[in-house]
Structures are given as structure tokens and as C-alpha cells.
Symmetry: C2
Subunit: 433 residues, 2 copies
Amino acid sequence: MTAGTTDVHGWLEERRRAHRFRVDRIPFAELDGWSFDPVTGNLGHHSGKFFTVEGLRVDTTVDGAGRQWHQPIIRQPEVGILGILVKEFDGVPHYLLQAKMEPGNRNLLQLSPTVQATRSNYTKAHKGADVRYIEYFTQRGRGRVLADVLQSEHGSWFYRKSNRNMLVEAVGEVPEHDDFRWLTLAQIGELLRQDNVVNMDTRTVLACVPFADPEGGSLHSGTELLSWFTGERSRHDVSAERVALAGIPGWKRGERTIEHEEGRYFDVVAVGVQAGSREVAGWTQPLFEPRGTGVTAFLTRRIGGVPHLLVHARVEGGFADTVELGPTVQYTPSNYAHLPQAERPPFLDLVLGADPARIRYEALHSEEGGRFLNAESRYLFLDTDEDQAPLDAPPGYLWATPGQLGALLRHNHYLNVQARTLLSCLTTGAVRL
Amino acid sequence: MTAGTTDVHGWLEERRRAHRFRVDRIPFAELDGWSFDPVTGNLGHHSGKFFTVEGLRVDTTVDGAGRQWHQPIIRQPEVGILGILVKEFDGVPHYLLQAKMEPGNRNLLQLSPTVQATRSNYTKAHKGADVRYIEYFTQRGRGRVLADVLQSEHGSWFYRKSNRNMLVEAVGEVPEHDDFRWLTLAQIGELLRQDNVVNMDTRTVLACVPFADPEGGSLHSGTELLSWFTGERSRHDVSAERVALAGIPGWKRGERTIEHEEGRYFDVVAVGVQAGSREVAGWTQPLFEPRGTGVTAFLTRRIGGVPHLLVHARVEGGFADTVELGPTVQYTPSNYAHLPQAERPPFLDLVLGADPARIRYEALHSEEGGRFLNAESRYLFLDTDEDQAPLDAPPGYLWATPGQLGALLRHNHYLNVQARTLLSCLTTGAVRL
């Protein structure tokens, strides 16, 4: 197995050499086919394809306390497919991953799902074009569906974006291609313990691998968990209205960036991509570039001998419905550095100052490299005790087992993409609690 | 049991006499506190409370075929609680229903849930006001939650409206009030076989009563059902944009109605209500009044001896997400009378011309009487065979068992409110398939 993952690194290096990639920052004026609408200031492609960068005004109220902000947001209404093909070899399930370049990843090439395609991509594919293996995910009888669910992407950066997450067991022989490799869950788990190898789309699909015992030994029953979630959705009012990007309060547009006046959150930037191996030799596009590295962590405790995770009902402006469940901590610390102690996010300082002996898992992972530039987060599982994280959790937080969260993942919009990354570390055995 | 439901009718008559109600149609100009915005033409209350009537532009595309329309829509972002209190007497669960007046019901008084309250109502209640029994649904420790889930309301008339559907088993003695009565499921089932006795909110909550055997003997596995649903959500593009009500194409505003130019769909009207028994002596409000009576039916078949229902993945402009599962047939026939045979809705003529011997259930029920005036549908279950409704159902349709649909009802936005009315006929035993 160790040899296997060494192999993977060799193969990734080889694919890196086989393809020539170069990504450069460019001013907005050098974007090819992209422009700011003269009236709204929204940034879009002249074809109407791909995505737009628009403005969003968010108003939230919880228990009578309100908050409002404006921000740029990516709008891409199309539902894409993120699909991993599964096949048993010698009785062991293997997952077909692809060495794929994405311009926003610091190391460019990471392991993506078998298929990672927008609908424009894959309907074009129906006419004989080039999304490999798409037929296993769009045609009946080519495989047995193991999981198939719409899941949200980053609600802080995307407006109501969902992708279809699919695991499909292939029927019959599957042809191999140079950019693809069959890996076991254990191998992927080992790669997940390393920084920036397994891309976000792979992680969210692997989070859907079923857990053995969904509800055994949980502190709260399934009905209690659902009732708490319904209560959290009900007590939050969130109104998110798309507005013109031009002139949204708190943001300024320059030649090369749209950025927050205090230098927080993220910038909108543009890049030029040169890629030797694509059907198109190069392209330009906007990307969102976060300021600072995120910290994303589940606090964990054994309760009655059973591992539990402290989930957080989180508002993100782009969610389709008020809240989804996120990790206990999901913040970019630099955005909160200016706040007085009392207003700092719950549990953040606990994670930042954690005793290394109690960190069960830690690795740096990239978010979607097709839309985000150098968007990296430190993902952690941290053991805690009653003093640090009481069983009677504060409002908005609840203890749940990984199996309970896995059961929710059969349905859409319960768990945000960061929680799903951390769950993929459990389904693959990258960490055992 | 028969005696029990006779009692119920006597009690409803008695409550009808105890309260004096009168509902009159009035011109919009006589609405008190309501007015059309001079710029947008939206109809709202000067307090900003209750709801607004706005415009909606809907664009849908499925498999490349597009459709667009405009319509008035009710916007009421607040999440309300629809809650039924449950308690065992002599080992038999009883459900606490209320004789409640709603101005849009033809017979005014119907059986509502224990609690049917907007959040404005029930947060006011926290200050000591008057939503009876609300504490069982908002305070911990007063009861055991049996079901608690956000469910959509009519997507053709409401913009993304959800209510919280709750079943709570009471802890301890429950005080009784004149307008409330404990009934068994069997009693409610008998009342559901009668026209216009059990209101819509009661029906949607009772649909959440768990089925005994969720997945036994189903034609499609749970994973297949979820995958089909995900596929239906993915293949539909629906864009629903709120627009100014003034001047939406196809609709005209008069002194007393906003109506469709062809006289189809529904009218927006206004009523004055005089109610002797309320804390307020009377009020005025807008209502939506559908043109014609709806027909809402599940086709049923026994497959391998197990009853199945043919569900339909339906687009409604106000849904939060593209499609939800509706009954096989859900149409107001008069809206389609002008269409050539080939364009008539699938299965509608089968239901309209059904052999009475194959109708397993038929009753007239009202939709939400607080928002809709004389909105009645004929609800049916109709036995079918392979010639009428093949196992290999057409695109957008799938056979599922009642138990499978009941399992989906633990989660939000799978089943629309009409499908839930029909399911409540199964959970209460009003019909046995």
C-alpha cells in the first residue's frame, strides 16, 4: 500500500511533466471574452457560458439579532456531475481518479474524480466530444449507482451552487487512460494525510461512501438530530438578494482586483492559463482568491465509547436554504483578528492553541481550483473534553456521530462542503477516531 | 368510532354556532391597511407584516425545451409551525385537533392542527399572548418529538414558502379547551373520507406519521429512488425571479380582481371578515381564488403484491429547488381544456374518465383557507393496470411505495403538499390499498 501511494506520486510527477501548464495573474483588461457589464458591473463571458461574478446583499436575523453585508458572489446555475467510478479488483473496491490540472491549485495537478464536468461539458459529450467515462454516469445499465445526491458548494463564494455527487460501480471492463488510476480507499486515505494531493471534488464524492453503522450509540436519536436541524433552519431568517456588482458597499474595483476595503475575505482576480495538453491551448478567467489560510476543524469526543463530532449550523449567504451543517470551526483567522475577545468565533482559539498531542488529523487541502486561487485550509480533527466542549453544546451546535452525518449525506443540503471534506477523511480511514 | 365522528360533527356545528363568522368579497380599495405599491404594484400591508402579492417570472428548461411565464405569487418568508399534539389514552394515540375558522374555506370551520401559527404569532405568544399549546412545540421537555421537518406549500401560489410540520407526544396532563378535541387516527381517517372537514395543515402534518415498513418489497431500491430524484432535479433548469406585479404579461388588474387575460389559473381578490370570537372583531385581506376545481390523484398498482404509487417530478415556479414529487395527476382541467389532445397532461384523461369501480378513494378537500378562497380539489386514488400505467414509467414518473415516500418525508422538499394530502389518507387509514 505504501508502495502504491509512492507510485501515485511518481505517476503524478510524470503526468505533470507530460502536460505543460502555466498560470499568470493578469489585469482584468487582458481577459479574453470576459468583461464588466457597463450597467451592472457584473463580470461575465460574452458567450453567456461559464459563470458570472455578481453582487449579493445578505440580511440575516437569528433570535432577533440582525446582520447585513454585501459581497461579490459567483453565479453558475448549471448543475455539474462529480462522479467516481468504482470497480472491484481481487475483491477490493477501487476508485478511478484522474490527474487533473486546475489553475487555482498551488501545485496545479491534483487527484480529481473520474468525471468532473459541467452540464455544458457533458451534453457536448453526448455529441461525441471528450468527457471520458461520462457514459457511466448518464446512461442506464452501464453501472450500479451507489450514491447520487445534489450537494452544495461553498456558500460564502457561490450563489446556490449544487453539484451532483455520484458513486457508480462499473459493469464490465473499463478502458484505462494515462491520466487515470484505480486506487483503493486505503490508498486514498493515505494520500489524504498529505497536503494538496486529493482535490475538493474527490473529497466531497468520497464523503458519500456509506458508513457501516449509521446510528449506533449516538447521543441524540436520528429524530432528535433532524428536529434540531429543523429548529436551526427555522430560527434563522436569511434573505440573499442578487444585486449589481458595481458599487456594492465595502468593496472597491481596481485594474487587477476587486477587493474588500479592509483587505479582508477575498479578492476577485484574473489569470491567464497556458496548457499544452488541452484541446484549447490556453484561456483566461476570473478566480476568487481568499485572503489568508482557513482553519476548518471538527472537535471530537468519545461519548459512551462512541466517537462524536460537534457540528455547527452555519449561515452562508449563498446557501439555498438558511443554514447547513458545517464543522465546529470554519474560519479564516485573519478576518477575525481585529475583533475583541468576546466577539471571536466560538472554539476558534481552542483549535488555534491546540495541544499537538490531541490533534488526530491535520492536513492542508485546496478548495475547487477551477474557481478559487490558492484557497487553502488547514483541516483538523481535535480531541476535546467536557471543559473544552460540553455535551450540552451551545445554541447552534450539536454532537452527532459520523454515521449519522453519513446518513444525512444521502440527502441534499444538510452538510456543507467543508464538513464533507472532513467526513471523507473518515470514510477513507485517513483518520480513525 | 362511528359514534365518535358523529360527535365530531355535532361539536363542529356547536363551535360554528359559538363563533359568528361572515366573509364578504370587497374591492381592493376597501382593504384596510393593504395597498398597491405605487411603483411596483405589489400588494402589501402598511405594517410590513403578513404577506405580499408580487410578480414572478419563471423560466424552465428540460432536455432543451424551454417554457416561460409570468404570474402573481404570494411571498411570506416567515416559517410557521404546524404542530399536532399526540397523547395516549387507554393505550391508543390521540391527536389534538382544533375547530378553526379560515376565511377561504367554503364552510369556514374545519379541523386544524393543535397549533397553526406564523412566527409573528408564536413569538408574540412568548410574551404571554394567545397561541394555545405553543409551548409544547417551542420549549424543551414539554414533549417528545415524533416528527419535525420543514415542508413546502403550494409552489404554484407561494414563493418558496415552508412551514415546520411537527408531531409531538405530550409529557403530562394537557389542559383542554372548547375549540379542541382529541381524536384517534382511525377517527381522522373516517373524517378524511368526507369532503372539507380536515384542513390542509392537518393533512400535511398527518402525512408525517411513520409507516411501519418503509422499504419492504419496493420495485426500486431506496438508492434507485434517490438517484432518479437527483436526476430529475438535475435535468430541469428553473429560474424564478421576483418581479414587479404591475404590468406582468398576461394579467390585468381591475377594481376587484387581478386576473389572467384568458380567465385561467386564479384571481387575486379581497375579502372582509367579521369574526365575533376573535381578539380582533374583523379584518380584511387579499386571497388567491383558483378558477375551477382541481383534480389530484395517485395512480396505484400492486407490484409483486405490494401497493405502489406513481409519483411525478413536478416543476412549480415557487419551489425552492426545481422539482418536488407530486401525485401522478395534479391539474385544474379547465386550464387545459383549450389544448389539443397531444398536449394534454399525461394521465389526466385517464383519471377524468375513470371507472368508478376502480376509484379507491375520492373526496373534496380545501387548500390553506388563510390564503386561498374556495380552493378545492378532488383527491383520488385510482387502481390501474399495465396498459394504463406501465411499470416502465414515462420520463418524470416513477413507481414508489407509500413507505418509501414516508421515509422521504423525514426530510424537506421531497414531496409537495398535494402528495402529502394523499399520503395522509394512507397514514390515517382513510384508504387501504
